[in-house]
Each structure stands twice: as C-alpha cells, then as structure tokens.
C-alpha cells in the first residue's frame, strides 16, 4: 500500500479535531488554574476550523479514501457540519457551568473533542470496522464524561450503567457484523451490498445478522425496548455531559443506521423495515406516555428523546431517498432542539445548584423573558407546532410513510404526538403562567451564552419558516 497524501484531504476536518484535542491535552499541563479558559478558546477555534474545513473539502463527487475504509460524500459533509455546530453550541453552553464548579479543566475538552472525532469517523465510515472504531471512540469518551464529576455518586452510577449497557449494545452490533461478514466475506459496505443483492433473503445468516445490527442500532439510539439506559444516564450525568451525549450523538447514530442499513444492506430493506416499524411505534408510545409522569426535567427530556427516535425511524423505514432525507432532517433538527433545551438547563443552574426539576423552570418569563421565549420555541418545536422547524421535521417523516401507503403508521404517529404535546405544554406553562420561586436569584449569563442561545432558538423558528435550504441539502445528500 502506497501512502498517498491526497488521501488526507477529505479527512482534514477529522485531522483538525484530532490536532486540537492533542493540543489541549498538552497545553493544559502548562496552564495555571486561572488560565484554564485557554482550553475553551482552543477547542472553539479547533471546531470552527473543522467547520471551515468541512465546507472547503466538501461537495462534489463521493470520494473513497484509505483503501475504501472512509468515504466523503454528501451525507458525511452535511452530518459532519451538523455535529460540529451542535458540539460548538454544547461547549459554549457548558463553560459557565464548569467554571462555577471548578471543573474547567482540559480533560472535559479533550474527552469532548475525542467524542466528536469519533462521531465524525462514524459518519464517514465506509466499512463495518471503521464504523465500529468511530462508535467506540465516541462511546468511551462519553462514558468518561458521564462520570466527569468525580465526587458525584449519581454520576458514577450513571456512568457504570451507561458503560455496561453500551458495551452490551456494541457486543450485539459486533455479533451482527460478524454474521454479515460470514455471509458476505467482506466488511466494506460496497462489496457487502453487492453480495447481499446477489444472495437476497435466502441466506438466513444474513437475516440474523440484520436482527443483531438493528438491536445494536436500537441501543445506540435508545429506542424502545433498548432504551433503559437513557433516562437514568440523563438524570445522573452532569448537565454538560448530557448536553454532549444527548444532542450530536443522535446525528452520529443516524449515520450509523444509514451507513449500515442503507449503504450496506439496502436490498434487505423489507427485512429491517418491519423491525424498525416495531421499534418506532414502541418508542413513540412509551416515550410520550412515560414522559408525562416525570417531574425531573432531565428524565422528561430523556423520554422525549426516545419518542423523537421513533419519529426518526419513521423516515428510515420508509426506505426511499425522500424518507432518508426526512430522517436526516429530523435528526439534525432534533440535535439542535436538544442542545437548546439542555442549554437552558445549564443557564438556569448556578454555583451549588443544578436545575433538574420541572419547578426550577417556574416563572422564567419574569426572570428573563428572552430565555423564556427561546425555551418556549424549543418546546413548541419539540411538540411539532408550526411555524417551528419541529413541525416541518414531523411533516417530512409523515409524508415519507404516507408515500409508502402506511397511512396507519402516520395516524399512530400523530396520535402520540398529541399525547406528547401535553408535557411540552406543561413546560411552557411553567415558563409563562407560574410565578418564580421566592428564592430564585437573578439570572446571570455571559454574552457568549446569550448569543449562542439566541442563535439556537431563533434557528428553530427561521428553519421552520424557510426549511427549503436545509431540506434540499438533505435531499442532495441522498440524491445519488
């Protein structure tokens, strides 16, 4: 194998993140306690550079590099951009929280950046092995981030759970991969797809392999019945870690599903479609119903995630390029919404206090009407009320399932979205209709956080009013 420098061009964004992470790792050693903000600045610069590089090297024909192990195509360009942007938001939101608690240390940024690197590798993987490497890189960093608050028992417990169940999910995935490798003799998506197209459904090993892959995907997404870890981890982990693991990884998980099921096993679509229908309906049902009973907003958002995963699956199971584009749109939009929701929770927290209960949101309109408006936008968007982008996302996935004549599934989805609307409305009620608690002090936030939250919230409105741009990006990604 000859080393070819042009191979490196398409992976420049990954390289940028890798360099930044390594740099932070080293620089952090020489920083005094007071100067830890440099870590933050470095990470932000690194992510911005990666975004710029994604834009520069992106576009055009798909390229295979590193002997076909990595691919750069429309899908990876868009998803990388989205992951980096959401990661950027997460870092900006997290800073005051970390600073208040004396945790503004290099490790947070190093772990966060490596997690992002893992996600970037996932979205550009062109073989099961690369995909798995990316996935594990991301997962290991996130396990550590969940336990980041070393003195927190709940954090340690959550990290343990996350690790055990995450390992179980990865195990399932690997098992499925091994079966598919056995049946097709390859771990690259291209040859696998060709071999599968030839053998079709006749090969039972393949069908078993798919079942395990779908289980693995279900674990990583947190779809019912593989969702048990989600609420516990969301509740136990420190909010900045939840912010990181609840937003961008959904985009990466979407990439996981797309790469494996569509790039690799598209001709077995009838097989995995049925499995996804079950996962989707169960996720929408359980997520929305159980969320109503929550009093802890992090748990509520966890169940809300589960229900949104059900909607993302709707687009995936449609099996058309329209459906994939719709699911991609949904995944990106969801990541932005989740970043906004957890961002608000961080804003509401202060030294020695974490906003976790629904009551902590009470009367936000009286405390800071701008943040209240942004949170209301996030909630209406999650509920799928026009003119926010959450509606557009739901519209597109519904369209995809009606297109394949599964009107009943669309009806099920809308019924659960009505049920879901209730608990989002309850949050808006707390924001606007209730008076703040007596003890609630004034909200103090930095300019950076305010700008980021404004961009984040208004993006939901602007994308809802003008969805054509992002949608056509999603569609061109799947046009080929």
């Amino acid at each position: 194998m000859q080393f070819d420098a042009t191979n490196l061009l398409p992976v420049l964004p990954e390289i940028a993140i890798l360099i930044t992470a390594s740099l932070v790792l080293v620089v952090d050693l020489y920083l005094k306690e007071a100067d830890k903000g440099v870590n933050h600045a470095l990470s932000i610069i690194g992510i911005l550079a990666a975004i710029a590089l994604t834009g520069t090297v992106g576009g055009g024909e798909a390229q295979l590099v590193f002997d076909g192990n990595l691919v750069r195509d429309g899908i990876s360009d868009l998803l990388k951009g989205a992951i980096l942007l959401v990661g950027l938001l997460a870092f900006v939101y997290a800073r005051p929280w970390l600073k208040d608690r004396g945790m503004l240390v290099g490790e947070f940024y190093v772990l966060g950046l490596f997690a992002i690197l893992g996600m970037l590798i996932m979205v550009s993987a062109n073989g099961f092995l690369t995909l798995y490497l990316g996935l594990e890189l991301q997962a290991l960093c996130l396990y550590a981030l969940v336990a980041f608050d070393r003195d927190s028992k709940r954090g340690a417990e959550a990290a343990m759970k996350y690790f055990v169940l995450g390992a179980l999910g990865s195990g399932m995935l690997l098992y499925g991969v091994s079966m598919i490798y056995g049946a097709t003799g390859s771990i690259e998506f291209g040859p696998v797809a060709a071999a599968v197209a030839e053998q079709g459904m006749s090969n039972k090993v393949l069908v078993f392999g798919i079942a395990f892959l779908v289980i693995g995907i279900g674990f990583k997404f947190g779809a019912v019945p593989f969702h048990m870890w989600v609420p516990d981890i969301y509740e136990g982990a420190p909010t900045p870690a939840v912010l990181l693991l609840g937003s961008a990884p959904k985009i990466a998980a979407f990439a996981l599903a797309i790469r494996m099921l569509v790039d690799g096993l598209n001709s077995l679509h009838p097989d995995w479609q049925g499995m996804l229908v079950i996962l989707s309906v169960l996720s929408m049902a359980l997520g929305n119903l159980v969320a109503i009973a929550q009093t802890n907003i992090k748990r509520m958002l966890a169940y809300s995630t589960i229900s949104h995963v059900g909607f993302i699956f709707l687009g995936l199971l449609a099996g058309s390029s329209q459906g994939y584009a719709a699911a991609m749109f949904y995944a990106i939009v969801y990541a932005v919404m989740a970043a906004g929701a957890f961002g608000i929770l961080i804003i509401l927290s202060r030294e020695g206090f974490d906003a976790e209960r629904l009551e902590d949101l009470k009367g936000l309109n009286d405390r800071d009407s701008w943040y209240a408006a942004m949170m209301a936008l996030v909630m209406f968007s999650m509920a799928g009320v026009p003119p926010t982008v959450g509606f557009m996302a739901k519209l597109l996935v519904l369209e995809a399932v009606v297109r394949i004549d599964m009107v009943w599934l669309a009806v099920v989805a809308v019924v659960f979205s009505i049920i879901g609307a209730f608990y989002y409305l309850r949050v808006v009620k707390l924001l606007y209709f209730d008076k703040p608690a007596e003890a609630a002090p004034r909200l103090v936030t930095t300019g950076g956080v305010r700008v980021a939250m404004t961009v984040n919230g208004l993006a939901l409105l602007v994308l809802g009013l003008f969805p054509a741009g992002l949608l056509s990006l999603c569609q061109t990604a799947f046009a080929s």
Binding site: P386, V415, L425
Partner: protein
C-alpha cells in the same frame, strides 16, 4: 388583479408590529399600546383595500400571490381570497382593533407581551383565511394556537392553566388528523394547492376517511356538540380580549374550513354523512340552548350561546346536500351557505360585543356571576342601552344582523326538511329566553348591592368599542346586500363543487349528487348551476 402583494402585507404587517411591540419592552406601557393600536388600525385600513379591489362577479381567487416555499415538496407560499374568505379577513382585522382598545388600561401585567400576542394572532388568522396551499394553511392554523395558549394562560382567570391546556390539546387533537389527510391528498393530487384538491376524484372510502379527519379538525374549532366542552372553559378563563377573538374569529375558522375543504373536496362523503352534521347542529341549537339557560356565569352563558349559533352555521352549510339532490330547489342551497356566512360575520360582531360588555362589568366589579348584578341600568344607563341592544341582536331581532343569517338558514332548511326547520326555529325562542333573561337579571330591576350602586358608566374608550360594533350590527342587519353581493359568485361556484360527484369512474353509479359528469368540466371557475 393587482401586482401589489396586499395579502402578504396584511399578514405580516401585524406580525412585524407584534415583534416591534415586544421589542419596545415593558418600560412604557403607553408606547406599547399606541404602537399596537397603530399597527392594528393600519392593518384594518389595508384590509379594506381587499374589499375595494375585489371583483364580485367572479368566483376565482383574487389578489393571488404564489411563490415556491419548499420546492422539493411542491409546497408553495400561495395566497388568494374569494368571496368567502375576504369578508372574514376584514372581520379579523376589524375586531383586532377593539381587542387592543379593550385591553388598554385593564392589562397591567406585561402589557407589551399582551398586545404583541394579539397582533401576531391577527396576522396569523388572516393567513389562515388567505392560504391556498394546504401546508401553508396548516402552518397558520396551528400557529394560531401558540399566542392564544399564552393569552389565556398568562392573563386569564383563576383556572386558566386547565382551560388553556384543554383548549390547546383539543384543537391540536382535531387538527393532526387533518394533516395526515392533507398529506394523503398530496399524493393523489401531486400538489398541495387547495384548488387542485377541489378537482380531485376520490373513492368513497377515502372520501369518508378524509371527511372524518376534516370533521375532527373543524368540529373542534367550531365547536360542535360533543367536542364543544373546551369552549366554555376557555371563554370563562380568557381575558376579555381573548374571549372576543375566540368567539368572533377563531370559531369562524372552523366554519371556513368546512367551506374550503369538506364541501368541495369530499362532496360525496358529505352527502352521505350530512345527517350526522345536521343532527349535531340541531343538538347544538336545542340542547346547548337549554344548557345556556341555566348558566350562572355571564361569560359561560355567552359561550354556550356561541355554540348554539354556530350550530346554525353548520346546519346552513350541510342542508345544501339535501337540497342539491333535488334540482328544482337549487336556489335554496346558495341561500343556506350564504345564510351560514352571514351568521358567521354577524356572530363575530355580536358575540364580540357581548364579551366586551361582560368585560366592562368585570373590570369594575371583578365578578362574572349573574347573581352579583342587578339594576345596572340605574347606574350605567349607556351601558344598559348597549347591552340590551346586543342581547336583542343575539336573540335575532329583525333589523339586527342576527336576524338575517338565522332567517336565511331556516328558510333554506325548510326546503330540505320541514321538521328540521321547525327544530331549528326553536332557537328563536331559546336564544331570546337565555339572553333576555340574563339581561333582565343583570341590567334591570332594583340596584342589587353597593358595588352596583358605585358603578361608573362607560368611558370614552368603552363607548367607542361598543358604539362601533353596534353600528356594524345595525348596518349588516338593515342592509346586508353588499356582503351578499361579494360572496354570491363564490358561493354559487361552491354549490356547483359541492353538488358534483367526485367519485372515480368505476364508482360513478353510487353517485347521489345531481351532477354526475366529470368534475374537470366545471373547474373553469365561472360555471353556473
């Protein structure tokens, strides 16, 4: 036809106004109020341009604007008005002015947010009436819920949270099924344009399912028995302005939906199921009339009276299907729909005015209980006069707008079925009973207590509100011809649409509608029955 984007302006001007008012902050309430009023008046003046520039001789859409919005899904920013939507748009912009004025000094908690919410509502509701693209329509339709949810929840009464969440979930529940129906029709028509939906041929099963989906959406909004229960709660808890908008305009959006979607898109299913709607309408008229009779709360009483009156609207719309099956009676079908339309506009004025009247009392005494009042006319003679006038109008006194619509609907119903008409006509007794009995207990009699004795009569602001609405009620009652004139061509075309069989060729033999020839021939918009 004009190149000037008038509709866009009428939709977005108040929304921008709302943002401006919001941005003005809470520093000076009077700046917020005056800015809000300026935007509301300006919007109203602009909307008069629709009336002036409107060509009543055609049923085609006018002031059309069309631009691609989401090109990959054929969703357009497609606006236009016809004789049905145009009067409703003017009603919307007209009523908004009074709502702003009514909240003038009464609202002290965050007045800029209050005013902004109503301005945004104004624009969004105009959007509902003028959208000709199904997705655009749906976006406006749902977007309307957000400001109303906030209005009831923030400035409402003690039980406001329950009321507003119930309101939101009921309406949300109704409309999501409509969304699925719209998407389904998109794949049939290959377009989201509502006018293309009108030309669609659909099998009976599909029509019935679509009809039910629409019915869920519109019946909740109207509201029809038995999904009306959100309305009394929402009305009672909403601030005066919120009640006015709810009664005067939001309910009309349900009626408008029937005319724009159910009648022309699913005529065969409507004809097959018209008995259901007529039954529910008659229940609303009679049963809800009795329910209104026993109310102790003025706002609740008016809310139930609204449900009964909206029963007339749906009755007028759906007797059409019985009438068109007999070609000899076809003039009656136009009358039924026109009667329903007049009833909607007139009810917008009257119920709005009645809620303002209750608001006047509530601002002074802080009670809506009928029992808390008595002999108000002694201390508030002007108010008493207005209240009696609007009560008479609500009871359908000839000379007021309330009479015209009810009379036309009863007349049309007579052509369809004698006994339906008899039942519908009981409203003349019932409405008189519950409205006038309330007036008797509140306005007349001895001065009941110290609070009533201390009442001050209307100030200039309130007199302006009630006076203007009284003028509108009288004008429409004495001379409804201009209103009928603008909508006549459109309604005729609508009757043609509703009377055409839209079943596909292989189901043609099941047609009960008089016009069984292919629909496409009638779609040039100028066809006459």
């Amino acid at each position: 036809m004009t190149e000037f984007p008038l509709l866009t302006l009428i939709i977005w001007l108040p929304i921008i106004g709302g943002i401006v008012v919001l941005a003005s902050g809470e520093t000076s309430a009077s700046i917020s109020r005056w800015t809000a009023l300026a935007f509301a008046v300006l919007t109203f003046v602009l909307s008069l341009g629709l009336w002036i520039g409107f060509d009543p001789t055609t049923a085609e859409m006018q002031f059309v604007e069309r631009a691609a919005w989401i090109p990959s899904f054929d969703v357009d920013y497609y606006l236009g008005v016809d004789g049905i939507s145009m009067p409703l748009i003017i009603l919307t912009t007209f009523i908004t002015i009074f709502v702003i004025v009514a909240g003038w000094e009464v609202i002290t908690y965050k007045p800029s947010q209050y005013m902004a919410a109503f301005l945004i509502m104004d624009g969004v509701m105009v959007g509902v009436f003028s959208a000709l693209d199904a997705i655009l329509f749906y976006v406006f339709w749902e977007a309307m819920l957000i400001p109303m949810f906030i209005i009831i929840g923030v400035w409402g009464g003690p039980n406001r949270v329950y009321a507003t969440i119930k309101f939101f979930l009921y309406t949300f529940f109704g409309s999501v099924f409509m969304l699925v129906a719209l998407i389904y029709m998109y794949f049939q028509a290959d377009s989201f344009s509502i006018l293309d939906f009108h030309g669609l041929q659909l099998g009976m099963t599909a029509q019935i399912l679509i009809f039910i989906a629409f019915l869920l959406a519109f019946a909740v909004k109207v509201p029809m028995f038995p999904v009306h229960t959100w309305l009394p709660d929402a009305h009672v808890e909403a601030p005066t302005g919120g009640s006015v908008i709810l009664a005067a305009i939001m309910l009309k959006i349900g009626g408008y939906g029937f005319l724009r979607f159910s009648l022309p898109i699913t005529p065969d299913a409507s004809a097959a199921l018209d008995w259901l709607i007529i039954l529910l309408s008659l229940i609303a008229i009679i049963y809800i009339g009795f329910v209104a009779l026993v109310q102790q709360d003025m706002k609740k009483l008016i809310a139930y009276s609204s449900i009964a009156h909206m029963g007339f609207v749906t009755l007028g719309f759906f007797v059409v299907f019985t009438i068109v099956q007999d070609p000899a009676l076809s003039a009656g079908s136009v009358m039924g729909i026109e009667g329903g339309m007049v009833q909607m506009i007139s009810h917008g004025f009257i119920s709005g005015a009645l809620f303002l009247c209750v608001g006047v009392l509530y601002d002074r005494v802080h009670s809506r209980d009928i029992a808390a009042y008595g002999g108000v006319v002694n201390t508030m003679p002007w108010f008493g006069a207005f209240m009696v006038f609007f009560a008479m109008a609500n009871a359908g006194l000839p000379g007021t707008s309330g009479f015209v619509g009810e009379f036309m609907v009863i007349l049309a119903t007579f052509r369809a079925d004698f006994w339906w008409a008899v039942l519908a006509a009981t409203t003349l007794v019932l409405a008189a009973a519950f409205t006038l009995w309330m007036v008797k207990r509140v306005v007349f009699g001895e001065v009941k207590n110290d609070k009533v004795a201390a009442l001050k009569d209307l100030d200039a602001r309130e007199t302006f509100n009630l006076g203007a609405l009284a003028a509108a009620v009288l004008a429409l009652g004495i001379w409804p011809a201009p209103l009928m004139n603008v909508m006549h061509s459109t309604v005729e075309n609508l009757v043609v649409q509703a009377g055409s069989c839209k079943l596909p060729p292989d189901e043609r033999e099941d047609c009960v509608l008089s016009r069984a020839e292919p629909v496409a021939a009638l779609l040039d918009g100028t066809a006459r029955p």
